[in-house]
């Protein structure tokens, strides 16, 4: 097979279109799909603006699918010697990428620019700092970060005799409210926690484990995972009980998209989704009053960081590295962050003083 397609490839070499040569330093920026809307076009606009203001640099904005596909595309490219200079990767993959030696530590670049890395990170919200750092070294710049949050339907709360201004704070209250909201005859579910692999499953199990007093992995020694620890097992059991024991949540896998559609159709009392979905939910939940609350806690109240951060890949030229750093710094300016967080209703990751 190899010989066959090498031969075919050689024949087709002639047909390859070659990109026009450019004098500026060309770098590639891979970015994943948006929460909603035509991000490819929005991102192109932002990148075009950068290119206009930086004649020596040309950034190619490359759409790369969902967060998982972005990881596949960028790391595959890196393994064959074509790494993107900059990528917007899921915040959940930063440690992986750093441990596997795929991305550059940014601390040396910060030092070169005259910053003390730890001090520089004080520009960002405290909760985002550990996620961007691996073993004390900065590896990512927070960009469009999010956390899980509880969305609820105030109309259904009132109909079930619950206080719509007082959403559940603890797991026992959560179960109690979800039971009241569940109405099998009307086809109403009390709660949905999206459980599709590759999008929400691991993130929300991590969220429940943290609320249960645990951690998904050792944050000081990343790579050590706690999946078999009581706090995580307890979280999994709680999740299972919601469908099996209390029967307040549909059985089987519920994707985030299906869950969102059901919530918006007014048939679900509560749903756990990213803060990144806020804009979409708010603009589509026009026919019932929407409530947004913290995810209930058990041993403590805690949620993991999600969304995406900017990273720089290894294996790029010194010129590309310089250009990539200029681009990352520019993307991290409050003006650009504000554009993204307004469009996508994200947290602005940076403290503005």
């Amino acid at each position: 097979m190899t010989i066959l397609y090498r031969m075919g490839a050689a024949v087709l070499m002639a047909a390859v279109l070659v990109l026009p040569a450019q004098a500026a330093t060309n770098i590639q920026f891979m970015f994943p799909a948006a929460v909603q809307g035509n991000l490819a076009a929005q991102m192109q606009k932002i990148v075009d603006q950068f290119n206009r203001h930086h004649p020596g640099i040309h950034v190619d904005a490359v759409f790369s699918g969902g967060y998982g596909q972005t990881l596949t595309k960028s790391t595959s490219a890196a393994r064959v010697g074509k790494p993107p200079a900059v990528a917007l990767e899921s915040a959940n993959f930063i440690s992986d990428l750093a441990i596997n030696g795929m991305i550059q530590p940014l601390s040396p670049l910060l030092k070169q620019a005259g910053h003390k890395p730890r001090q520089y990170m004080q520009n960002y919200w405290a909760a985002l700092r550990p996620n961007a750092m691996v073993r004390g070294t900065v590896y990512a710049l927070p960009f469009q970060n999010s956390t899980p949050v509880l969305y609820y339907n105030k109309a259904l709360f009132k109909a079930a005799g619950l206080d719509a201004e007082n959403p559940p704070q603890t797991w026992p209250q959560w179960v109690k409210d979800a039971k009241r909201l569940t109405d099998t005859k009307a086809g109403h579910w009390g709660l949905i926690i999206p459980s599709s692999n590759g999008s929400y499953l691991a993130w929300l199990l991590q969220s429940l484990s943290m609320a249960n007093g645990g951690q998904f992995y050792n944050t000081v020694f990343p790579g050590e995972v706690y999946l078999d620890q009581p706090s995580v097992i307890g979280a999994m059991r709680f999740w299972r009980d919601l469908t099996q024991r209390y029967a307040v949540m549909p059985k089987g896998v519920t994707t985030a998209k299906a869950g969102t559609a059901e919530f918006l159709s007014g048939k679900v009392g509560m749903i756990v989704l990213s803060t990144g979905a806020l804009g979409y939910i708010r603009s589509h939940a026009s026919h019932f009053p929407l409530g947004v609350a913290f995810v209930p806690g058990n041993v403590r109240r805690a949620v993991p960081i999600g969304g995406g951060s900017l990273v720089m890949f290894k294996g790029i030229s010194a010129d590309a590295k310089k250009a990539a750093w200029t681009f990352m710094q520019w993307m991290e300016k409050p003006a650009q962050l504000a554009r993204i967080s307004q469009r996508r209703h994200r947290e602005r990751p940076r403290l503005m003083s």
């Binding site: 097979m1 066959l4 397609y5 090498r6 075919g8 490839a9 050689a10 087709l12 070499m13 047909a15 390859v16 279109l17 990109l19 799909a33 948006a34 929460v35 909603q36 809307g37 035509n38 991000l39 490819a40 076009a41 190619d60 490359v62 759409f63 790369s64 699918g65 969902g66 967060y67 596909q69 596949t72 595309k73 595959s76 490219a77 393994r79 064959v80 010697g81 074509k82 999206p194 999008s199 985030a256 998209k257 869950g259 969102t260 559609a261 059901e262 918006l264 159709s265 007014g266 989704l273 990213s274 990144g276 979905a277 804009g279 979409y280 939910i281 589509h284 026009s286 026919h287 999600g306």
Partner: protein, 274 residues
């Protein structure tokens, strides 16, 4: 029960299966024409009575569909043309020529069917980069120029053709390639058609490999193009536009199927595929 009644019952059961199976398609058709803002009905099969073509307009405005149709057509037909040559020749070799290690080589060929495509993502990409095809449509096509499944299918098809026909041609002085071209391939046409359909549908719908190989929007295929403006990462989806965009993506295949239905079904019956 009378035979007549039984037949009616079978027809009824089959029709309900057909209805069940076509639900996703029906939903897509209805969602594509449903005005937005009508969120209560997002999952409903009940059509809106004031249909709109707004979703089609915004899908066509958001993406360069003309270019993406062209790219998809080029990739799908390019792969198929090369495949038809390679699978016919290799299938013929495994079916008719006797050489040392034929069984082992064929078994090795079949082992490829056991590999999940994502496993080959990085090795294939490496080959494409080495060949200088990274980022091009040719690079998207190259790994599929040989097909283990196609070789297997054509070998079976050739073996089912009586040897006497070939022998008669050989007696008349035909060379091996004349036998292949004038005798075997015309008889193997249903097999080739069946393989072509499988190949076209697979490559038309493929997403991950095209996404990984190309970077420029000018080289997107329909699937990557649709994802670039219509998917949502964390829950939100513009269902109307996705439904309209998906209809645009599948339209050529769907129309082709409706036009050639009888031919397609016959080919599958012949080759024992489903």
């Amino acid at each position: 029960m009378m035979p007549h009644d039984r037949r009616r019952l079978v027809a009824l059961a089959l029709s309900s299966f057909v209805l069940l199976w076509s639900t996703p398609f029906l939903w897509m058709l209805i969602a594509a024409f449903r005005p937005s803002g009508d969120n209560v009905a997002i999952a409903s099969l009940w059509p809106a009575f004031e249909p709109t073509i707004k979703h089609f307009a915004s899908a066509l405005a958001a993406g360069d569909f003309g270019q993406w149709y062209l790219n998809t057509l080029l990739v799908v037909s390019g792969i198929l043309l090369v495949q038809l040559v390679t699978v016919s020749l290799a299938g013929y070799a495994f079916a008719r020529l006797s050489f040392r290690g034929r069984g082992t080589l064929f078994a090795l060929f079949l082992v490829q069917l056991l590999l999940l495509p994502p496993v080959l993502l990085v090795p294939n990409l490496q080959t494409i980069v080495n060949a200088g095809l990274y980022g091009s449509l040719a690079g998207m096509m190259a790994p599929y120029f040989a097909s283990a499944f196609g070789v297997f299918l054509m070998r079976q098809v050739f073996r089912s053709i009586p040897r006497e026909l070939e022998e008669a041609a050989l007696m008349d002085g035909a060379s091996w390639w004349q036998v292949l071209w004038h005798v075997l391939l015309p008889l193997a046409r249903p097999g080739l058609v069946a393989f072509s359909i499988v190949s076209i549908v697979f490559h038309w719908n493929e997403f991950l490999w095209p996404l990984v190989v190309v970077n420029s929007p000018q080289r997107y295929t329909l699937t990557v193009g649709l994802a670039s403006f219509a998917t949502g990462a964390e829950g939100g989806n513009e269902w109307g536009m996705i439904a309209a965009g998906t209809l645009l993506v599948i339209a050529p295949l769907f129309i082709a199927f409706v036009l050639c239905q009888r031919h397609i079904v016959n080919s599958f019956m012949f080759s024992g595929l489903k």
